[in-house]
């Protein structure tokens, strides 16, 4: 199935409006297997919506998403592109992991139960296997000592790492990150970025919506700058972040770097 010349994620002409507001104006992008694509841009530029279209959390008004060659959310019935059944969409979502800005850890479950829930209830693994796999994933994000902790007993950084382990437990083909460090206290950002760097180094395909330009520059295979529902500029991180061609990109980057300097927190620039 996996073809090295075929992108792992292909987004084609995605359009989405909320009422009169056009959030995505025909966005196309792709990510090869093992790539880390960083999507940057001002708030309201449509980055999150783009991400949410990739796992069909959001139903696009037009355009298609392919993950590993499979059409997400829609199928051809005869010659008509028709939305898939719930069961089908659920199956497809299992191969696309997502990490949210606000962690969304299940507060009624322990860290281990959070990670084991989906493999178990989707029938991927049985109870014993799911528990073992969950323990393994927690170890991978450095939380094997917090297995039995509830969300309220964990710091934001730890909660986000549990959320990453939870997404990894479904062995996804691609991981989507929606501003994973934006809700964190500055001193906790580093531990989450460190886990993400490790994943990138391990060959995970990732699409990361972020304001961490330093991370984008170090880890990103390509950087996409979005504004007002469209991709303004994309390319290798050094080009987009180092010598942006578009004025809007330049303005945005200088604004973010200024904010970083003002916050004067060392962990922002030296995240591991």
């Amino acid at each position: 199935m996996t073809d090295t010349t075929e992108p792992m994620v292909r987004v084609s002409q995605i359009r989405k409006s909320y009422g009169k507001l056009e959030v995505l104006k025909g966005v196309s992008m792709q990510s090869m297997k093992g790539e880390t694509v960083c999507v940057i841009g001002p708030s309201g530029s449509g980055k999150s919506t783009l991400l949410r279209c990739i796992n069909h959390l959001e139903r696009p008004d037009g355009g298609l998403v392919f993950v590993d060659g499979e059409m997400i959310g829609y199928e051809l019935r005869g010659s008509r592109l028709t939305e898939r059944t719930d069961r089908d969409v659920e199956r497809q979502r299992r191969s696309v992991g997502m990490v949210f800005q606000r962690f969304n850890i299940f507060p009624h479950l322990t860290a281990l139960e959070n990670v084991a829930l989906a493999p178990r209830s989707t029938g991927l693994l049985n109870r014993r296997e799911a528990t073992a796999a969950a323990a393994e994933q927690l170890e991978r994000v450095g939380l094997s000592d917090r297995k039995d902790a509830y969300a309220r007993q964990l710091s934001g950084g730890q909660q986000q790492r549990v959320a990453i382990a939870r997404a990894l437990a479904m062995s996804p083909k691609v991981l989507l990150f929606d501003e994973p460090t934006s809700a964190l206290d500055p001193e906790l950002v580093g531990e989450v970025l460190a886990v993400m760097k490790e994943l990138a180094a391990g060959g995970m395909t990732m699409i990361v919506v972020t304001h961490e330009l330093q991370f984008a520059r170090e880890v990103g295979s390509q950087v996409i700058f979005m504004d007002e529902g469209a991709i303004v500029e994309q390319g290798p991180p050094d080009e987009v972040l180092g010598s942006p061609k578009n004025e809007r990109t330049r303005n945005f980057i200088s604004r973010v770097f200024k904010d970083d300097r003002q916050s004067a927190d060392p962990s922002l620039s030296t995240a591991n």
């Binding site: 992991g97 997502m98 949210f100 606000r102 507060p107």
Partner: protein, 317 residues
């Protein structure tokens, strides 16, 4: 901050009410007393006096307390109490089942399902419970015969007995309130939770049962508990449709012996016992579901009950 002092500082202070200077440390060694509350005492005494007068009036009134005492464990009264408990438990279970179904329907993306659920709540929450019971009880006037295709048919009065009419009426009425409670509790769960579960590929059903409902439970238990206690008392309405539960039995007895107030007080006593037991059960169920709650909230009532229990335990220990 200050340099080392050679002489100890002067500790004499001038206190109003004393003629000479006193040593602050000596004064500080004295016992401290609470501020007196004469008004509080006065008001308290007046209230107690009022209560004593009230109890005295009832004790002196034309009530034969001896007779009342005799009726507390009367066989017919206990039968009525049993029926009250049975109808309360059954209609709670049916009400919760109905409420869950209609709450899920109300939140469904199917417009027909959600409209039907809205209609259900609108009708059964918008009309008096007593009226509903009377309508169910008199259903035979509209449909003399109930027939279900392939199952058979029966005379309505044989099916809709007073017990069935009470069960149906109370369950459907409670279900309408419980549906709203469940809907509210589900909506109160942060939408990010549903999103995270959906993104993991969980089915809607698994999202509801494994993620949303467990989190809605702590908010739901108190309202369902109150609903059940309401049913316990509301079941007395069934007396008007000839279902002889606790109140109905008492009425049957006092129609014969005219000990009206004696029996009504006995009934009141049993309702208080039943609702108290239900409150204690509710407290334990709440505590069970509150275990992994994010913030442990305790109300004054919770503290009252838990305090009473720890005091009881302390005395027996």
């Amino acid at each position: 901050m200050a340099g080392p002092s050679t002489a100890p500082p002067e500790t004499k202070v001038d206190v109003p009410g004393l003629t000479e200077l006193v040593d602050a440390d000596v004064l500080a060694g004295r016992k401290l007393h609470k501020r007196p509350h004469p008004v509080r005492w006065l008001v308290g005494a007046l209230i107690v006096a009022g209560l004593v007068w009230l109890v005295h009036s009832f004790a002196q009134g034309q009530i034969r307390w001896g007779d009342a005492r005799g009726f507390v464990f009367n066989h017919d009264i206990l039968t009525g109490l049993r029926r009250t408990i049975v109808i309360t438990v059954l209609s709670s279970i049916c009400g919760i089942a109905l409420g869950t179904v209609f709450a899920v329907m109300r939140l469904s993306s199917n417009p027909v399902a959600s409209s039907v659920a809205w209609l259900y709540v609108w009708i059964f929450r918008g009309t008096p419970e007593l009226l509903q019971l009377l309508i169910w009880f008199n259903l035979a006037l509209v449909f003399p015969v109930l027939s279900i295709p392939l199952v058979g048919s029966q005379r309505t009065i044989d099916v809709i007995t007073p017990f069935m009419a009470a069960l149906i009426g109370l369950s459907i009425n409670a279900g309408a309130y419980i549906a709203e409670n469940i809907r509210g509790a589900i909506l109160a769960v942060e939408s990010g939770q549903t999103e995270a579960a959906t993104a993991l590929g969980l089915s809607r059903r698994a999202t509801l049962t494994k993620v949303v409902l467990p989190q809605a439970m702590p908010a739901l238990i108190p309202s369902i508990g109150n609903q059940t206690i309401g049913l316990l008392k509301g079941s007395s309405l069934a007396a008007t449709i000839a279902y002889t539960e606790l109140l109905g039995q008492a009425q049957r007895i006092y129609f014969l012996n005219a000990r009206v107030m004696e029996l009504l007080f006995v009934v009141a006593l049993w309702y208080l016992v039943a609702t108290s037991v239900a409150s204690v059960l509710q407290y334990y169920v709440e505590r069970y579901y509150g275990r992994s709650e994010r913030n442990q909230r305790t109300s004054a009532a919770d503290r009252l009950i838990s305090g009473a229990f720890s005091r009881l335990r302390g005395q027996t220990a």
